[in-house]
Amino acid sequence: MSDSPIAVEQHGPELLHHFADPEQQRDAASLGMWMFLATEIMFFGGMFLAYLIYRFWYYNEFAAGSRSLDIWLGTINTAVLICSSLTVALGVRAAQLGQRKLLVILLLLTIVFGFAFLGIKGVEWYQKYEEHHIPGHSFNADDLVKAYPQIHIDPQHEQIYFSLYFAMTGLHALHMIIGLGLFIFLTYYAWKGRYTPKYYTPIEIGGLYWHFVDIVWIYLFPLLYLIDRKPLR
């Protein structure tokens, strides 16, 4: 290759030949990722709309369902995701500065936080399974009806809350699993030394995806866990 007289072939990931300069290449990659995230907002937007309409119609059932979730685990999980966003932001910085070892450590920490989130989420889902709060044949909201005699709770409408709870947290968890796959891939190549201060675009746009998934959870947490926690009159 080095003997080749054709200049066009001499390009690496730092600058592909159809870009004028590295900055244009980086901007194009970043903009492409933002376009994808815009479609993700639309994807999640439909679910948020369904949530909004049913919450408006069946507020009592949504409030009771929300109270049945474990607020401690929910808050801890929010903190875990925020920590993972910090390690991603610091990881991008390490890549910008060419600190390979630090980058690998921060990516690994992100993966650990990601698995911790999914583990805690799994514990919460299992609790819902044991309480018969998973929509379907074995669904039973009698415990909630008894717990809140002050408010009228229709078990059918309660099922709608839990359907949305599982759909929204499930879709979010799917995004986490995809993100973990991406980050395992990034960690491998970071370890191999592919990313340099001249070329760290995959770290940057992988980070954008991770932060986006964090933002979705930042909204899911108050919408699902904190609907109505104040003392009932």
Binding site: E23, R26, D27, A29, S30, L31, W34, M35, L37, A38, I41, M42, G45, G46, F48, L49, L52, I53, F56, W57, I71, G74, T75, T78, A79, I82, C83, S85, L86, V88, A89, L90, V92, R93, Q96, L97, T201, E204, G207, L208, H211, F212, D214, I215, I218, Y219, F221, P222, L223, Y225, L226, I227, D228, R229, K230, P231
Partner: protein, 95 residues
Amino acid sequence: MSEHIMSSKFYYTIWITLLVLTVVTAAVSFVDLGPLNTVVALVIATVKALLVVLFFMHVKYTSEKLTEIVIISAVFWLFLLLSLSMADYATRFRS
């Protein structure tokens, strides 16, 4: 995307702020503010989301202005979806 490299101290500040806001939003939900509970929860969530977008996702220091147009368009679309649908559902169906 930018070549602007922030200090790690700056990232730690944003991180602490996000954690504090998380604890605040969980704690405030136990206080009876009437309908304001939902408003407070959503305002705090939006502040947190803005901190992540502007600083962790580097939008504040991006050189590419098109990025901002994409983000604003996406959020505006979401606003249209939610507000126009609710304008319908909140006024038409009376049980």
